[in-house]
Symmetry: C3
Subunit: 282 residues, 3 copies
């Protein structure tokens, strides 16, 4: 039985790239449904694409996950498919798939997409979404081929990993973290959990000191946006269970000079645990 394909890329919507991949899939497997996760990943941003895929994967139907953020297309990097408990992941071997595959429990088989029977013949070598990944996703989703037909198995340890920055464990009432994601609403997500704040003796309703860009901010940890007035910032647990900074009816990205990847420090605001005002990237 056919399963859906969930499709993520950095193709954008200015050109016909997304539509052409949909077309290639529809020609091979007309009965397969394709759900677009997003095609708004920044051009070539493998890290951002991997995080978006990881955030999305648990909400998508089991089936095939087709992800293409591929600045190395036309170079030696491999094209791969991985078999997991929720279905197949198809994309370039550049780390894009690694965190999502890890989150669903890892892959029990990874193959290199080399069999020409499941590639479109192409004059160029720069649109693997159309020529390699799309066809592989289509035959896997429709059951026209087994993953072992698509190419030779690879050593799972040979797969490119992707390092997602982990926060250091809280110490002396502070945690050094970094910015994972800033969404279109201007919400700023950190790589720390409510448990990290809890270990520092903080709980909902407390103020938190946020140090970023050599500036210190005192911000309430609220249940949600409604815990503060409009235009006020709030630290809260976001929809992925991560600690995030938001501004009610506003945009934290506009109000705070903070970018993705920036180091930040969160700490208890009481004097006994003064943090350095200067934030030194670790």
């Amino acid at each position: 039985m056919a399963t859906p394909i969930s499709f993520l890329s950095d193709f954008g919507h200015d050109d016909e790239f997304v539509g052409v991949v949909h077309g290639v899939i529809a020609r091979i497997a007309p009965e397969v449904r394709v759900i677009d996760i997003t095609h708004g990943i920044s051009r070539g941003d493998v890290h951002g694409g991997a995080l978006a895929l990881t955030r999305a994967v648990q909400f998508m139907p089991d089936g095939v996950f087709l992800a293409v953020v591929d600045p190395g297309v036309g170079t030696e990097r491999k094209a791969i498919a991985a078999r997991t408990s929720v279905g197949y992941f198809v994309g370039p071997d550049n780390g894009l798939l690694a965190p999502a595959v890890a989150m669903v429990g890892g892959a029990d088989l990874i193959v290199s997409l080399e069999d020409p029977r499941f590639r479109l013949p192409s004059e160029g070598a720069t649109f693997h979404g159309r020529d390699i990944f799309g066809p592989a996703a289509a035959v896997l989703a429709s059951g026209q081929a087994d993953i072992t037909d698509l190419g030779p198995a690879m050593d799972p340890d040979a797969i490119s990993p992707l390092l997602i920055p982990l926060a250091e464990p809280p110490q002396n009432g502070q945690v050094k973290a970094s910015v994972l994601w800033i969404d279109t609403f201007g919400n700023i997500q950190f790589n720390i959990s409510p448990e990290d704040l809890g270990q520092m003796g903080l709980s909902v309703g407390d103020d938190v000191l946020l140090s970023a860009s050599m500036t210190e901010y005192r911000i309430t940890w609220g249940v949600s946006y409604g815990s503060v007035e409009e235009g006020e910032p709030v630290i809260h647990v976001d929809s992925h269970g991560q600690i995030a900074l938001a501004v009610r009816a506003g945009s934290a990205a506009e109000d705070f000079p903070i970018s993705v990847g920036d180091p930040v420090t969160l700490s208890r605001p009481d004097g006994g645990n003064r943090i350095d005002l200067k934030v030194v990237p670790d």
Copy 2:
């Protein structure tokens, strides 16, 4: 039998939000088709979202209308579903649904989406499209639940209304109006009808005086763009039956200093009905 879901939001396409809501619906109700009306509503623009939904609703198939423009997510505003003659409207109780529901003849039942059986368990409280509205739309579209299962009925009078500015009736050969919408092609729609112009003694082919931003423009009322030369402005009845200002093979938004919500005055160009040059917002 399953009905389609027509989906509108301000989520944009940079993040995976739209895809995740599609995914949640596909997990709950794989057989339900989702048609995206638009996700390009300006961030938090409830008014713009309500107008877009109202313009679109008559052209979409009967079924479920899922609309999420929700600057109040994470506050006390309710999540609602409304039963109407064309199906169900699902979204936040902030006025977003009100004009479209009114246009299709009103709702005979409105419920507050409170039953946890039809919500995704979530750590945060900021992505109700994924956790509350999407699941509610999915079970209504697939018939897995009755609207009365989703939560307690609400007093229809307790629903948040949304005020769409009405033009004053024409007087002395002029009508005070305002700008409802400027589309991506730069067409400027006013909240007046051809009947309003007709009451002022104007008909197609006549010139109309448009006062906006303290400036007066004399513009032909044409059947369509073809009534004027390329680059010339034209007053015409737009595809929603409203009076609009366009520029043939151009953009009225680029040529006229007019924004959404601006007050304008349209009047007869003959001397007997001089209008004030100064436009005073009412």
Copy 3:
């Protein structure tokens, strides 16, 4: 049996235009699948839309091709449907469909979409995607009408052509060409083929002199991006078999002052075939 509709336009995603056309089709033919090729064509750019449709058509499933880039909506230009070997093309008679129809072998019947039974009644005359083209595509895709039902046959020679600039044949080791397309990744496609370069005695691995904007660049003709270092430019055969300029892990559009439609000259870098440094638009 129903066939899919592949849909291309310049509607963008800010307004509900794309969604409304999907809605109209779903109301008429609920069983028909609509695949969006792209809606990111620049506003009114018939030439860019025609090229995108031509690039995409061979990858889309047979069925109906609905294309709307229509700066002449509301003027005298006709609305047409063309019958071809891969299905039907529906859109304005402004040249948008012509190159794609030619590429699939031409049309054996073209009709003017005039029968009011297959139009939505509309107060305005400015949204033919919704009122004329969408309904025509829906009835053709679902088989509810024959193309001959939609309106009178037209003389194929009366159809508006679209001129795609052809490069002059290579002479004296150089070829005068122009820029057809710059994609979202910054790749710059020329209207020349690898055969053109071959006729000039060039082969993969050679350097090529590119003259554009009165500047001369010496660039390697590589198999793909991998043939050069990151940040370096490369001439290669792109995914449509055309000669293109790219920058590995970068954007040629950012690094080269070249725009769509610009004249360029490619030549052999050896002295015996010096080209003029000044590029004169032909």
